[in-house]
Amino acid sequence: MIGMTPWTKNRYLPPVLLVVGLIVTAILPSTGLVNDYLQFVIVSIAINAILCVSLNLVNGWMGEFSVGHAGFMALGAYASAILTVKLFPSAPAALIFPAAVLIGGTVAGLAGIPVGILSFKTRGDYLAIITLAFLMIVKSGLENIPYTGGPRGMLGIPHLTTVAWAYFWCVVAFWAIRNLVYSKYGRGIAAIREDEIAAEAMGVNTRAAKLVAFVTSSFFAGVAGALFAHQLQFINPSSFDILKSTEILVMVYLGGVASLGGSLLGAGVVTILTQCLQPLGTWRMVVLPALLVLLMLFRPAGIMGYRDWNWLKPRLSLKLRSKNEDKAERGKEIVS
């Protein structure tokens, strides 16, 4: 019985589940089963999962340390909000929103190019400093642009981020990053984490791999920023400060570095935790960094570091799989 696989490994299961999920999330709000608050939390988890998995690409798979993720997010949020509020305020939502999210992602992705280029020569501490400088420049730059309201920010952004849209973009982000990290480029990115010089010696184009990682990561940060702006309906530069970056870092390092499942887990746990800690007020902001420190001291790779659930991994190609199964079968024969 070589061909028998458990139903969880069925190749049609993931697409079917995704479509079912999309339908469910699309009709969920109109059924009245979940109230507005629950919808808000679900959308927040999806946005945070996008942020977490995209930062994980740079901080987890590539093993660098970027603290500028909130800066990319800010660019995406502002670019999309300019589109929906300033340029096309009366365009139909179904048309303008996908375009706004895409443009938000593209603007952030373009901003990822210079950061990626700077990462060619610098790494470790200095790259962390560069991303920090990038974050500060974006934040104080936005504070000095009167067009987007300066430090007061932008008000009156239409509420367009529905549960279905958040779910859709979350799936796209996970699908894209999964395919990237299990591809040739992804192996190259992981090789940079293990040993950059050795990777280069083995023929990995480290510059291309770094650029791909940074641009992909910042693109999805921008997408998340656009969704964030159209969820909260209000953005200002100080919503994208170092604390926002820290929040994403906590998700990455709690859930697990270099792990898709870990990103999902981290985003879910941290989002729900911040909602539960809401009564603490300012003290809430003590809990997250403290959690980060404790994590580093006791479990630096996070809950699911370098591991993943099987259903999130891509299946081996049929040819490779039959070869492996042949080997396994032969092994059994020899044993018996």
Binding site: N59, G63, E64, F65, V67, L118, K121, T122, R123, G124, D125, Y126, A128, I129, I130, L132, A133, F134, M136, I137, K139, S140, G141, E143, N144, P151, D195, E196, I197, A198, I242, L243, T246, L249, Y253, G281, T282, W283, M285, V286, L288, P289, A290, L292, V293, M296, L297, P300
Partner: protein
């Protein structure tokens, strides 16, 4: 001309405070090759310790300076002992993350205790002197004098004493130095204490010069000093001082020409520019990182 001279004194004042903080960043980086992001918040706590001290007992300036420096030195040692030392052999990224986390814990705890900015009471009688049309206050003289004095003491300590020699040895090769009988952990702890004490002194001086103290100072001022340390070449003491005076001058000139909201933009752009063209700062030596 007079205007320029006046601005130069302002730049000197800001630069010397930045220099005191930047030295703390640079010393720790020199010894451990680790960015101590929590240092800016130690500086901020220096101001708050001073505030607390004056609220309990009205003490003269010199005593306040000594007490605040002692308190922040203890704090610096505690952070090193409980947050950084367990990670001494962990990947470098873990250490940076921990430092960032520690800084934010300190900052937000302070914010929780004191949500609003507080005015700093006067510690000294501020007398204004006129030299050829240039105004100089006692405060400015004291700030520049204390900073330069502390920097000279530090320079002497590092270059001429056996402790300084041990510190430089730990910086160049920790493993070998430990084998040769130098207590590396103690040296590192003392380095943290000295760095934090300088940060505390800077906190007190900053509180006196710009008499509003807030929890956000660790980022708005402390990280600027970090920028200064990187511009000068992090790990290099004289570079840190040079970078601090350059940054102080640039900031004062920026505010003189543009609205003050552009200050952060200009400083961090300067940092990025320096890193692009001179990745190890003005006086730093390029290092080869081994995997």
């Amino acid at each position: 001309m007079k205007y320029l001279a006046q601005q130069a004194i302002n730049a000197l004042q800001l630069g010397s405070i930045y220099a005191l903080i930047a030295l703390g960043y640079s010393m720790v980086y020199g010894v451990l090759t680790m960015i101590n992001f929590a240092h800016g918040d130690v500086f901020m706590l220096g101001s708050f310790f001073c505030l607390l001290l004056i609220a309990i007992v009205p003490v003269p300036f010199w005593l306040a300076l000594i007490v605040v420096m002692g308190a922040t030195a203890i704090l610096g040692t505690l952070i090193e002992r409980f947050a950084y030392r367990p990670l001494r052999n962990a990947p470098r990224v873990s250490a940076i993350i921990t430092a960032l986390g520690c800084g934010l814990v300190i900052q937000n705890t302070t914010l929780g205790i004191s949500p609003y900015a507080r005015p700093m009471p006067h510690l000294l009688d501020n007398v204004t002197y006129q030299f050829a049309g240039i105004t100089v206050t006692t405060l400015q003289i004291i700030i520049i004098g204390v900073s330069v004095g502390l920097m000279m003491v530090l320079d002497f300590l590092i270059r001429k004493t056996s402790f300084g020699m041990a510190m430089r040895a730990v910086a160049s090769d920790r493993a070998t130095v430990s084998l040769l009988g130098v207590p590396a952990n103690e040296i590192i702890a003392v380095t943290f204490a000295i760095g934090a004490a300088l940060g505390g002194a800077a906190g007190l001086l900053y509180g006196m010069a710009y008499p509003v103290v807030s929890a956000a100072m660790g980022i708005t001022v402390g990280w600027k000093a970090f920028v200064a340390a990187v511009i000068g070449g992090i790990g290099n003491m004289r570079g840190a001082v040079l970078g601090a005076f350059i940054l102080g001058t640039v900031e004062v000139m920026t505010v003189a020409v543009l609205p003050s909201t552009y200050r952060d933009l200009i400083s961090y752009s300067l940092l990025l520019l320096i890193l692009v063209f001179k990745p190890h700062g003005l006086l730093g030596k390029p290092t080869i990182h081994k995997a």
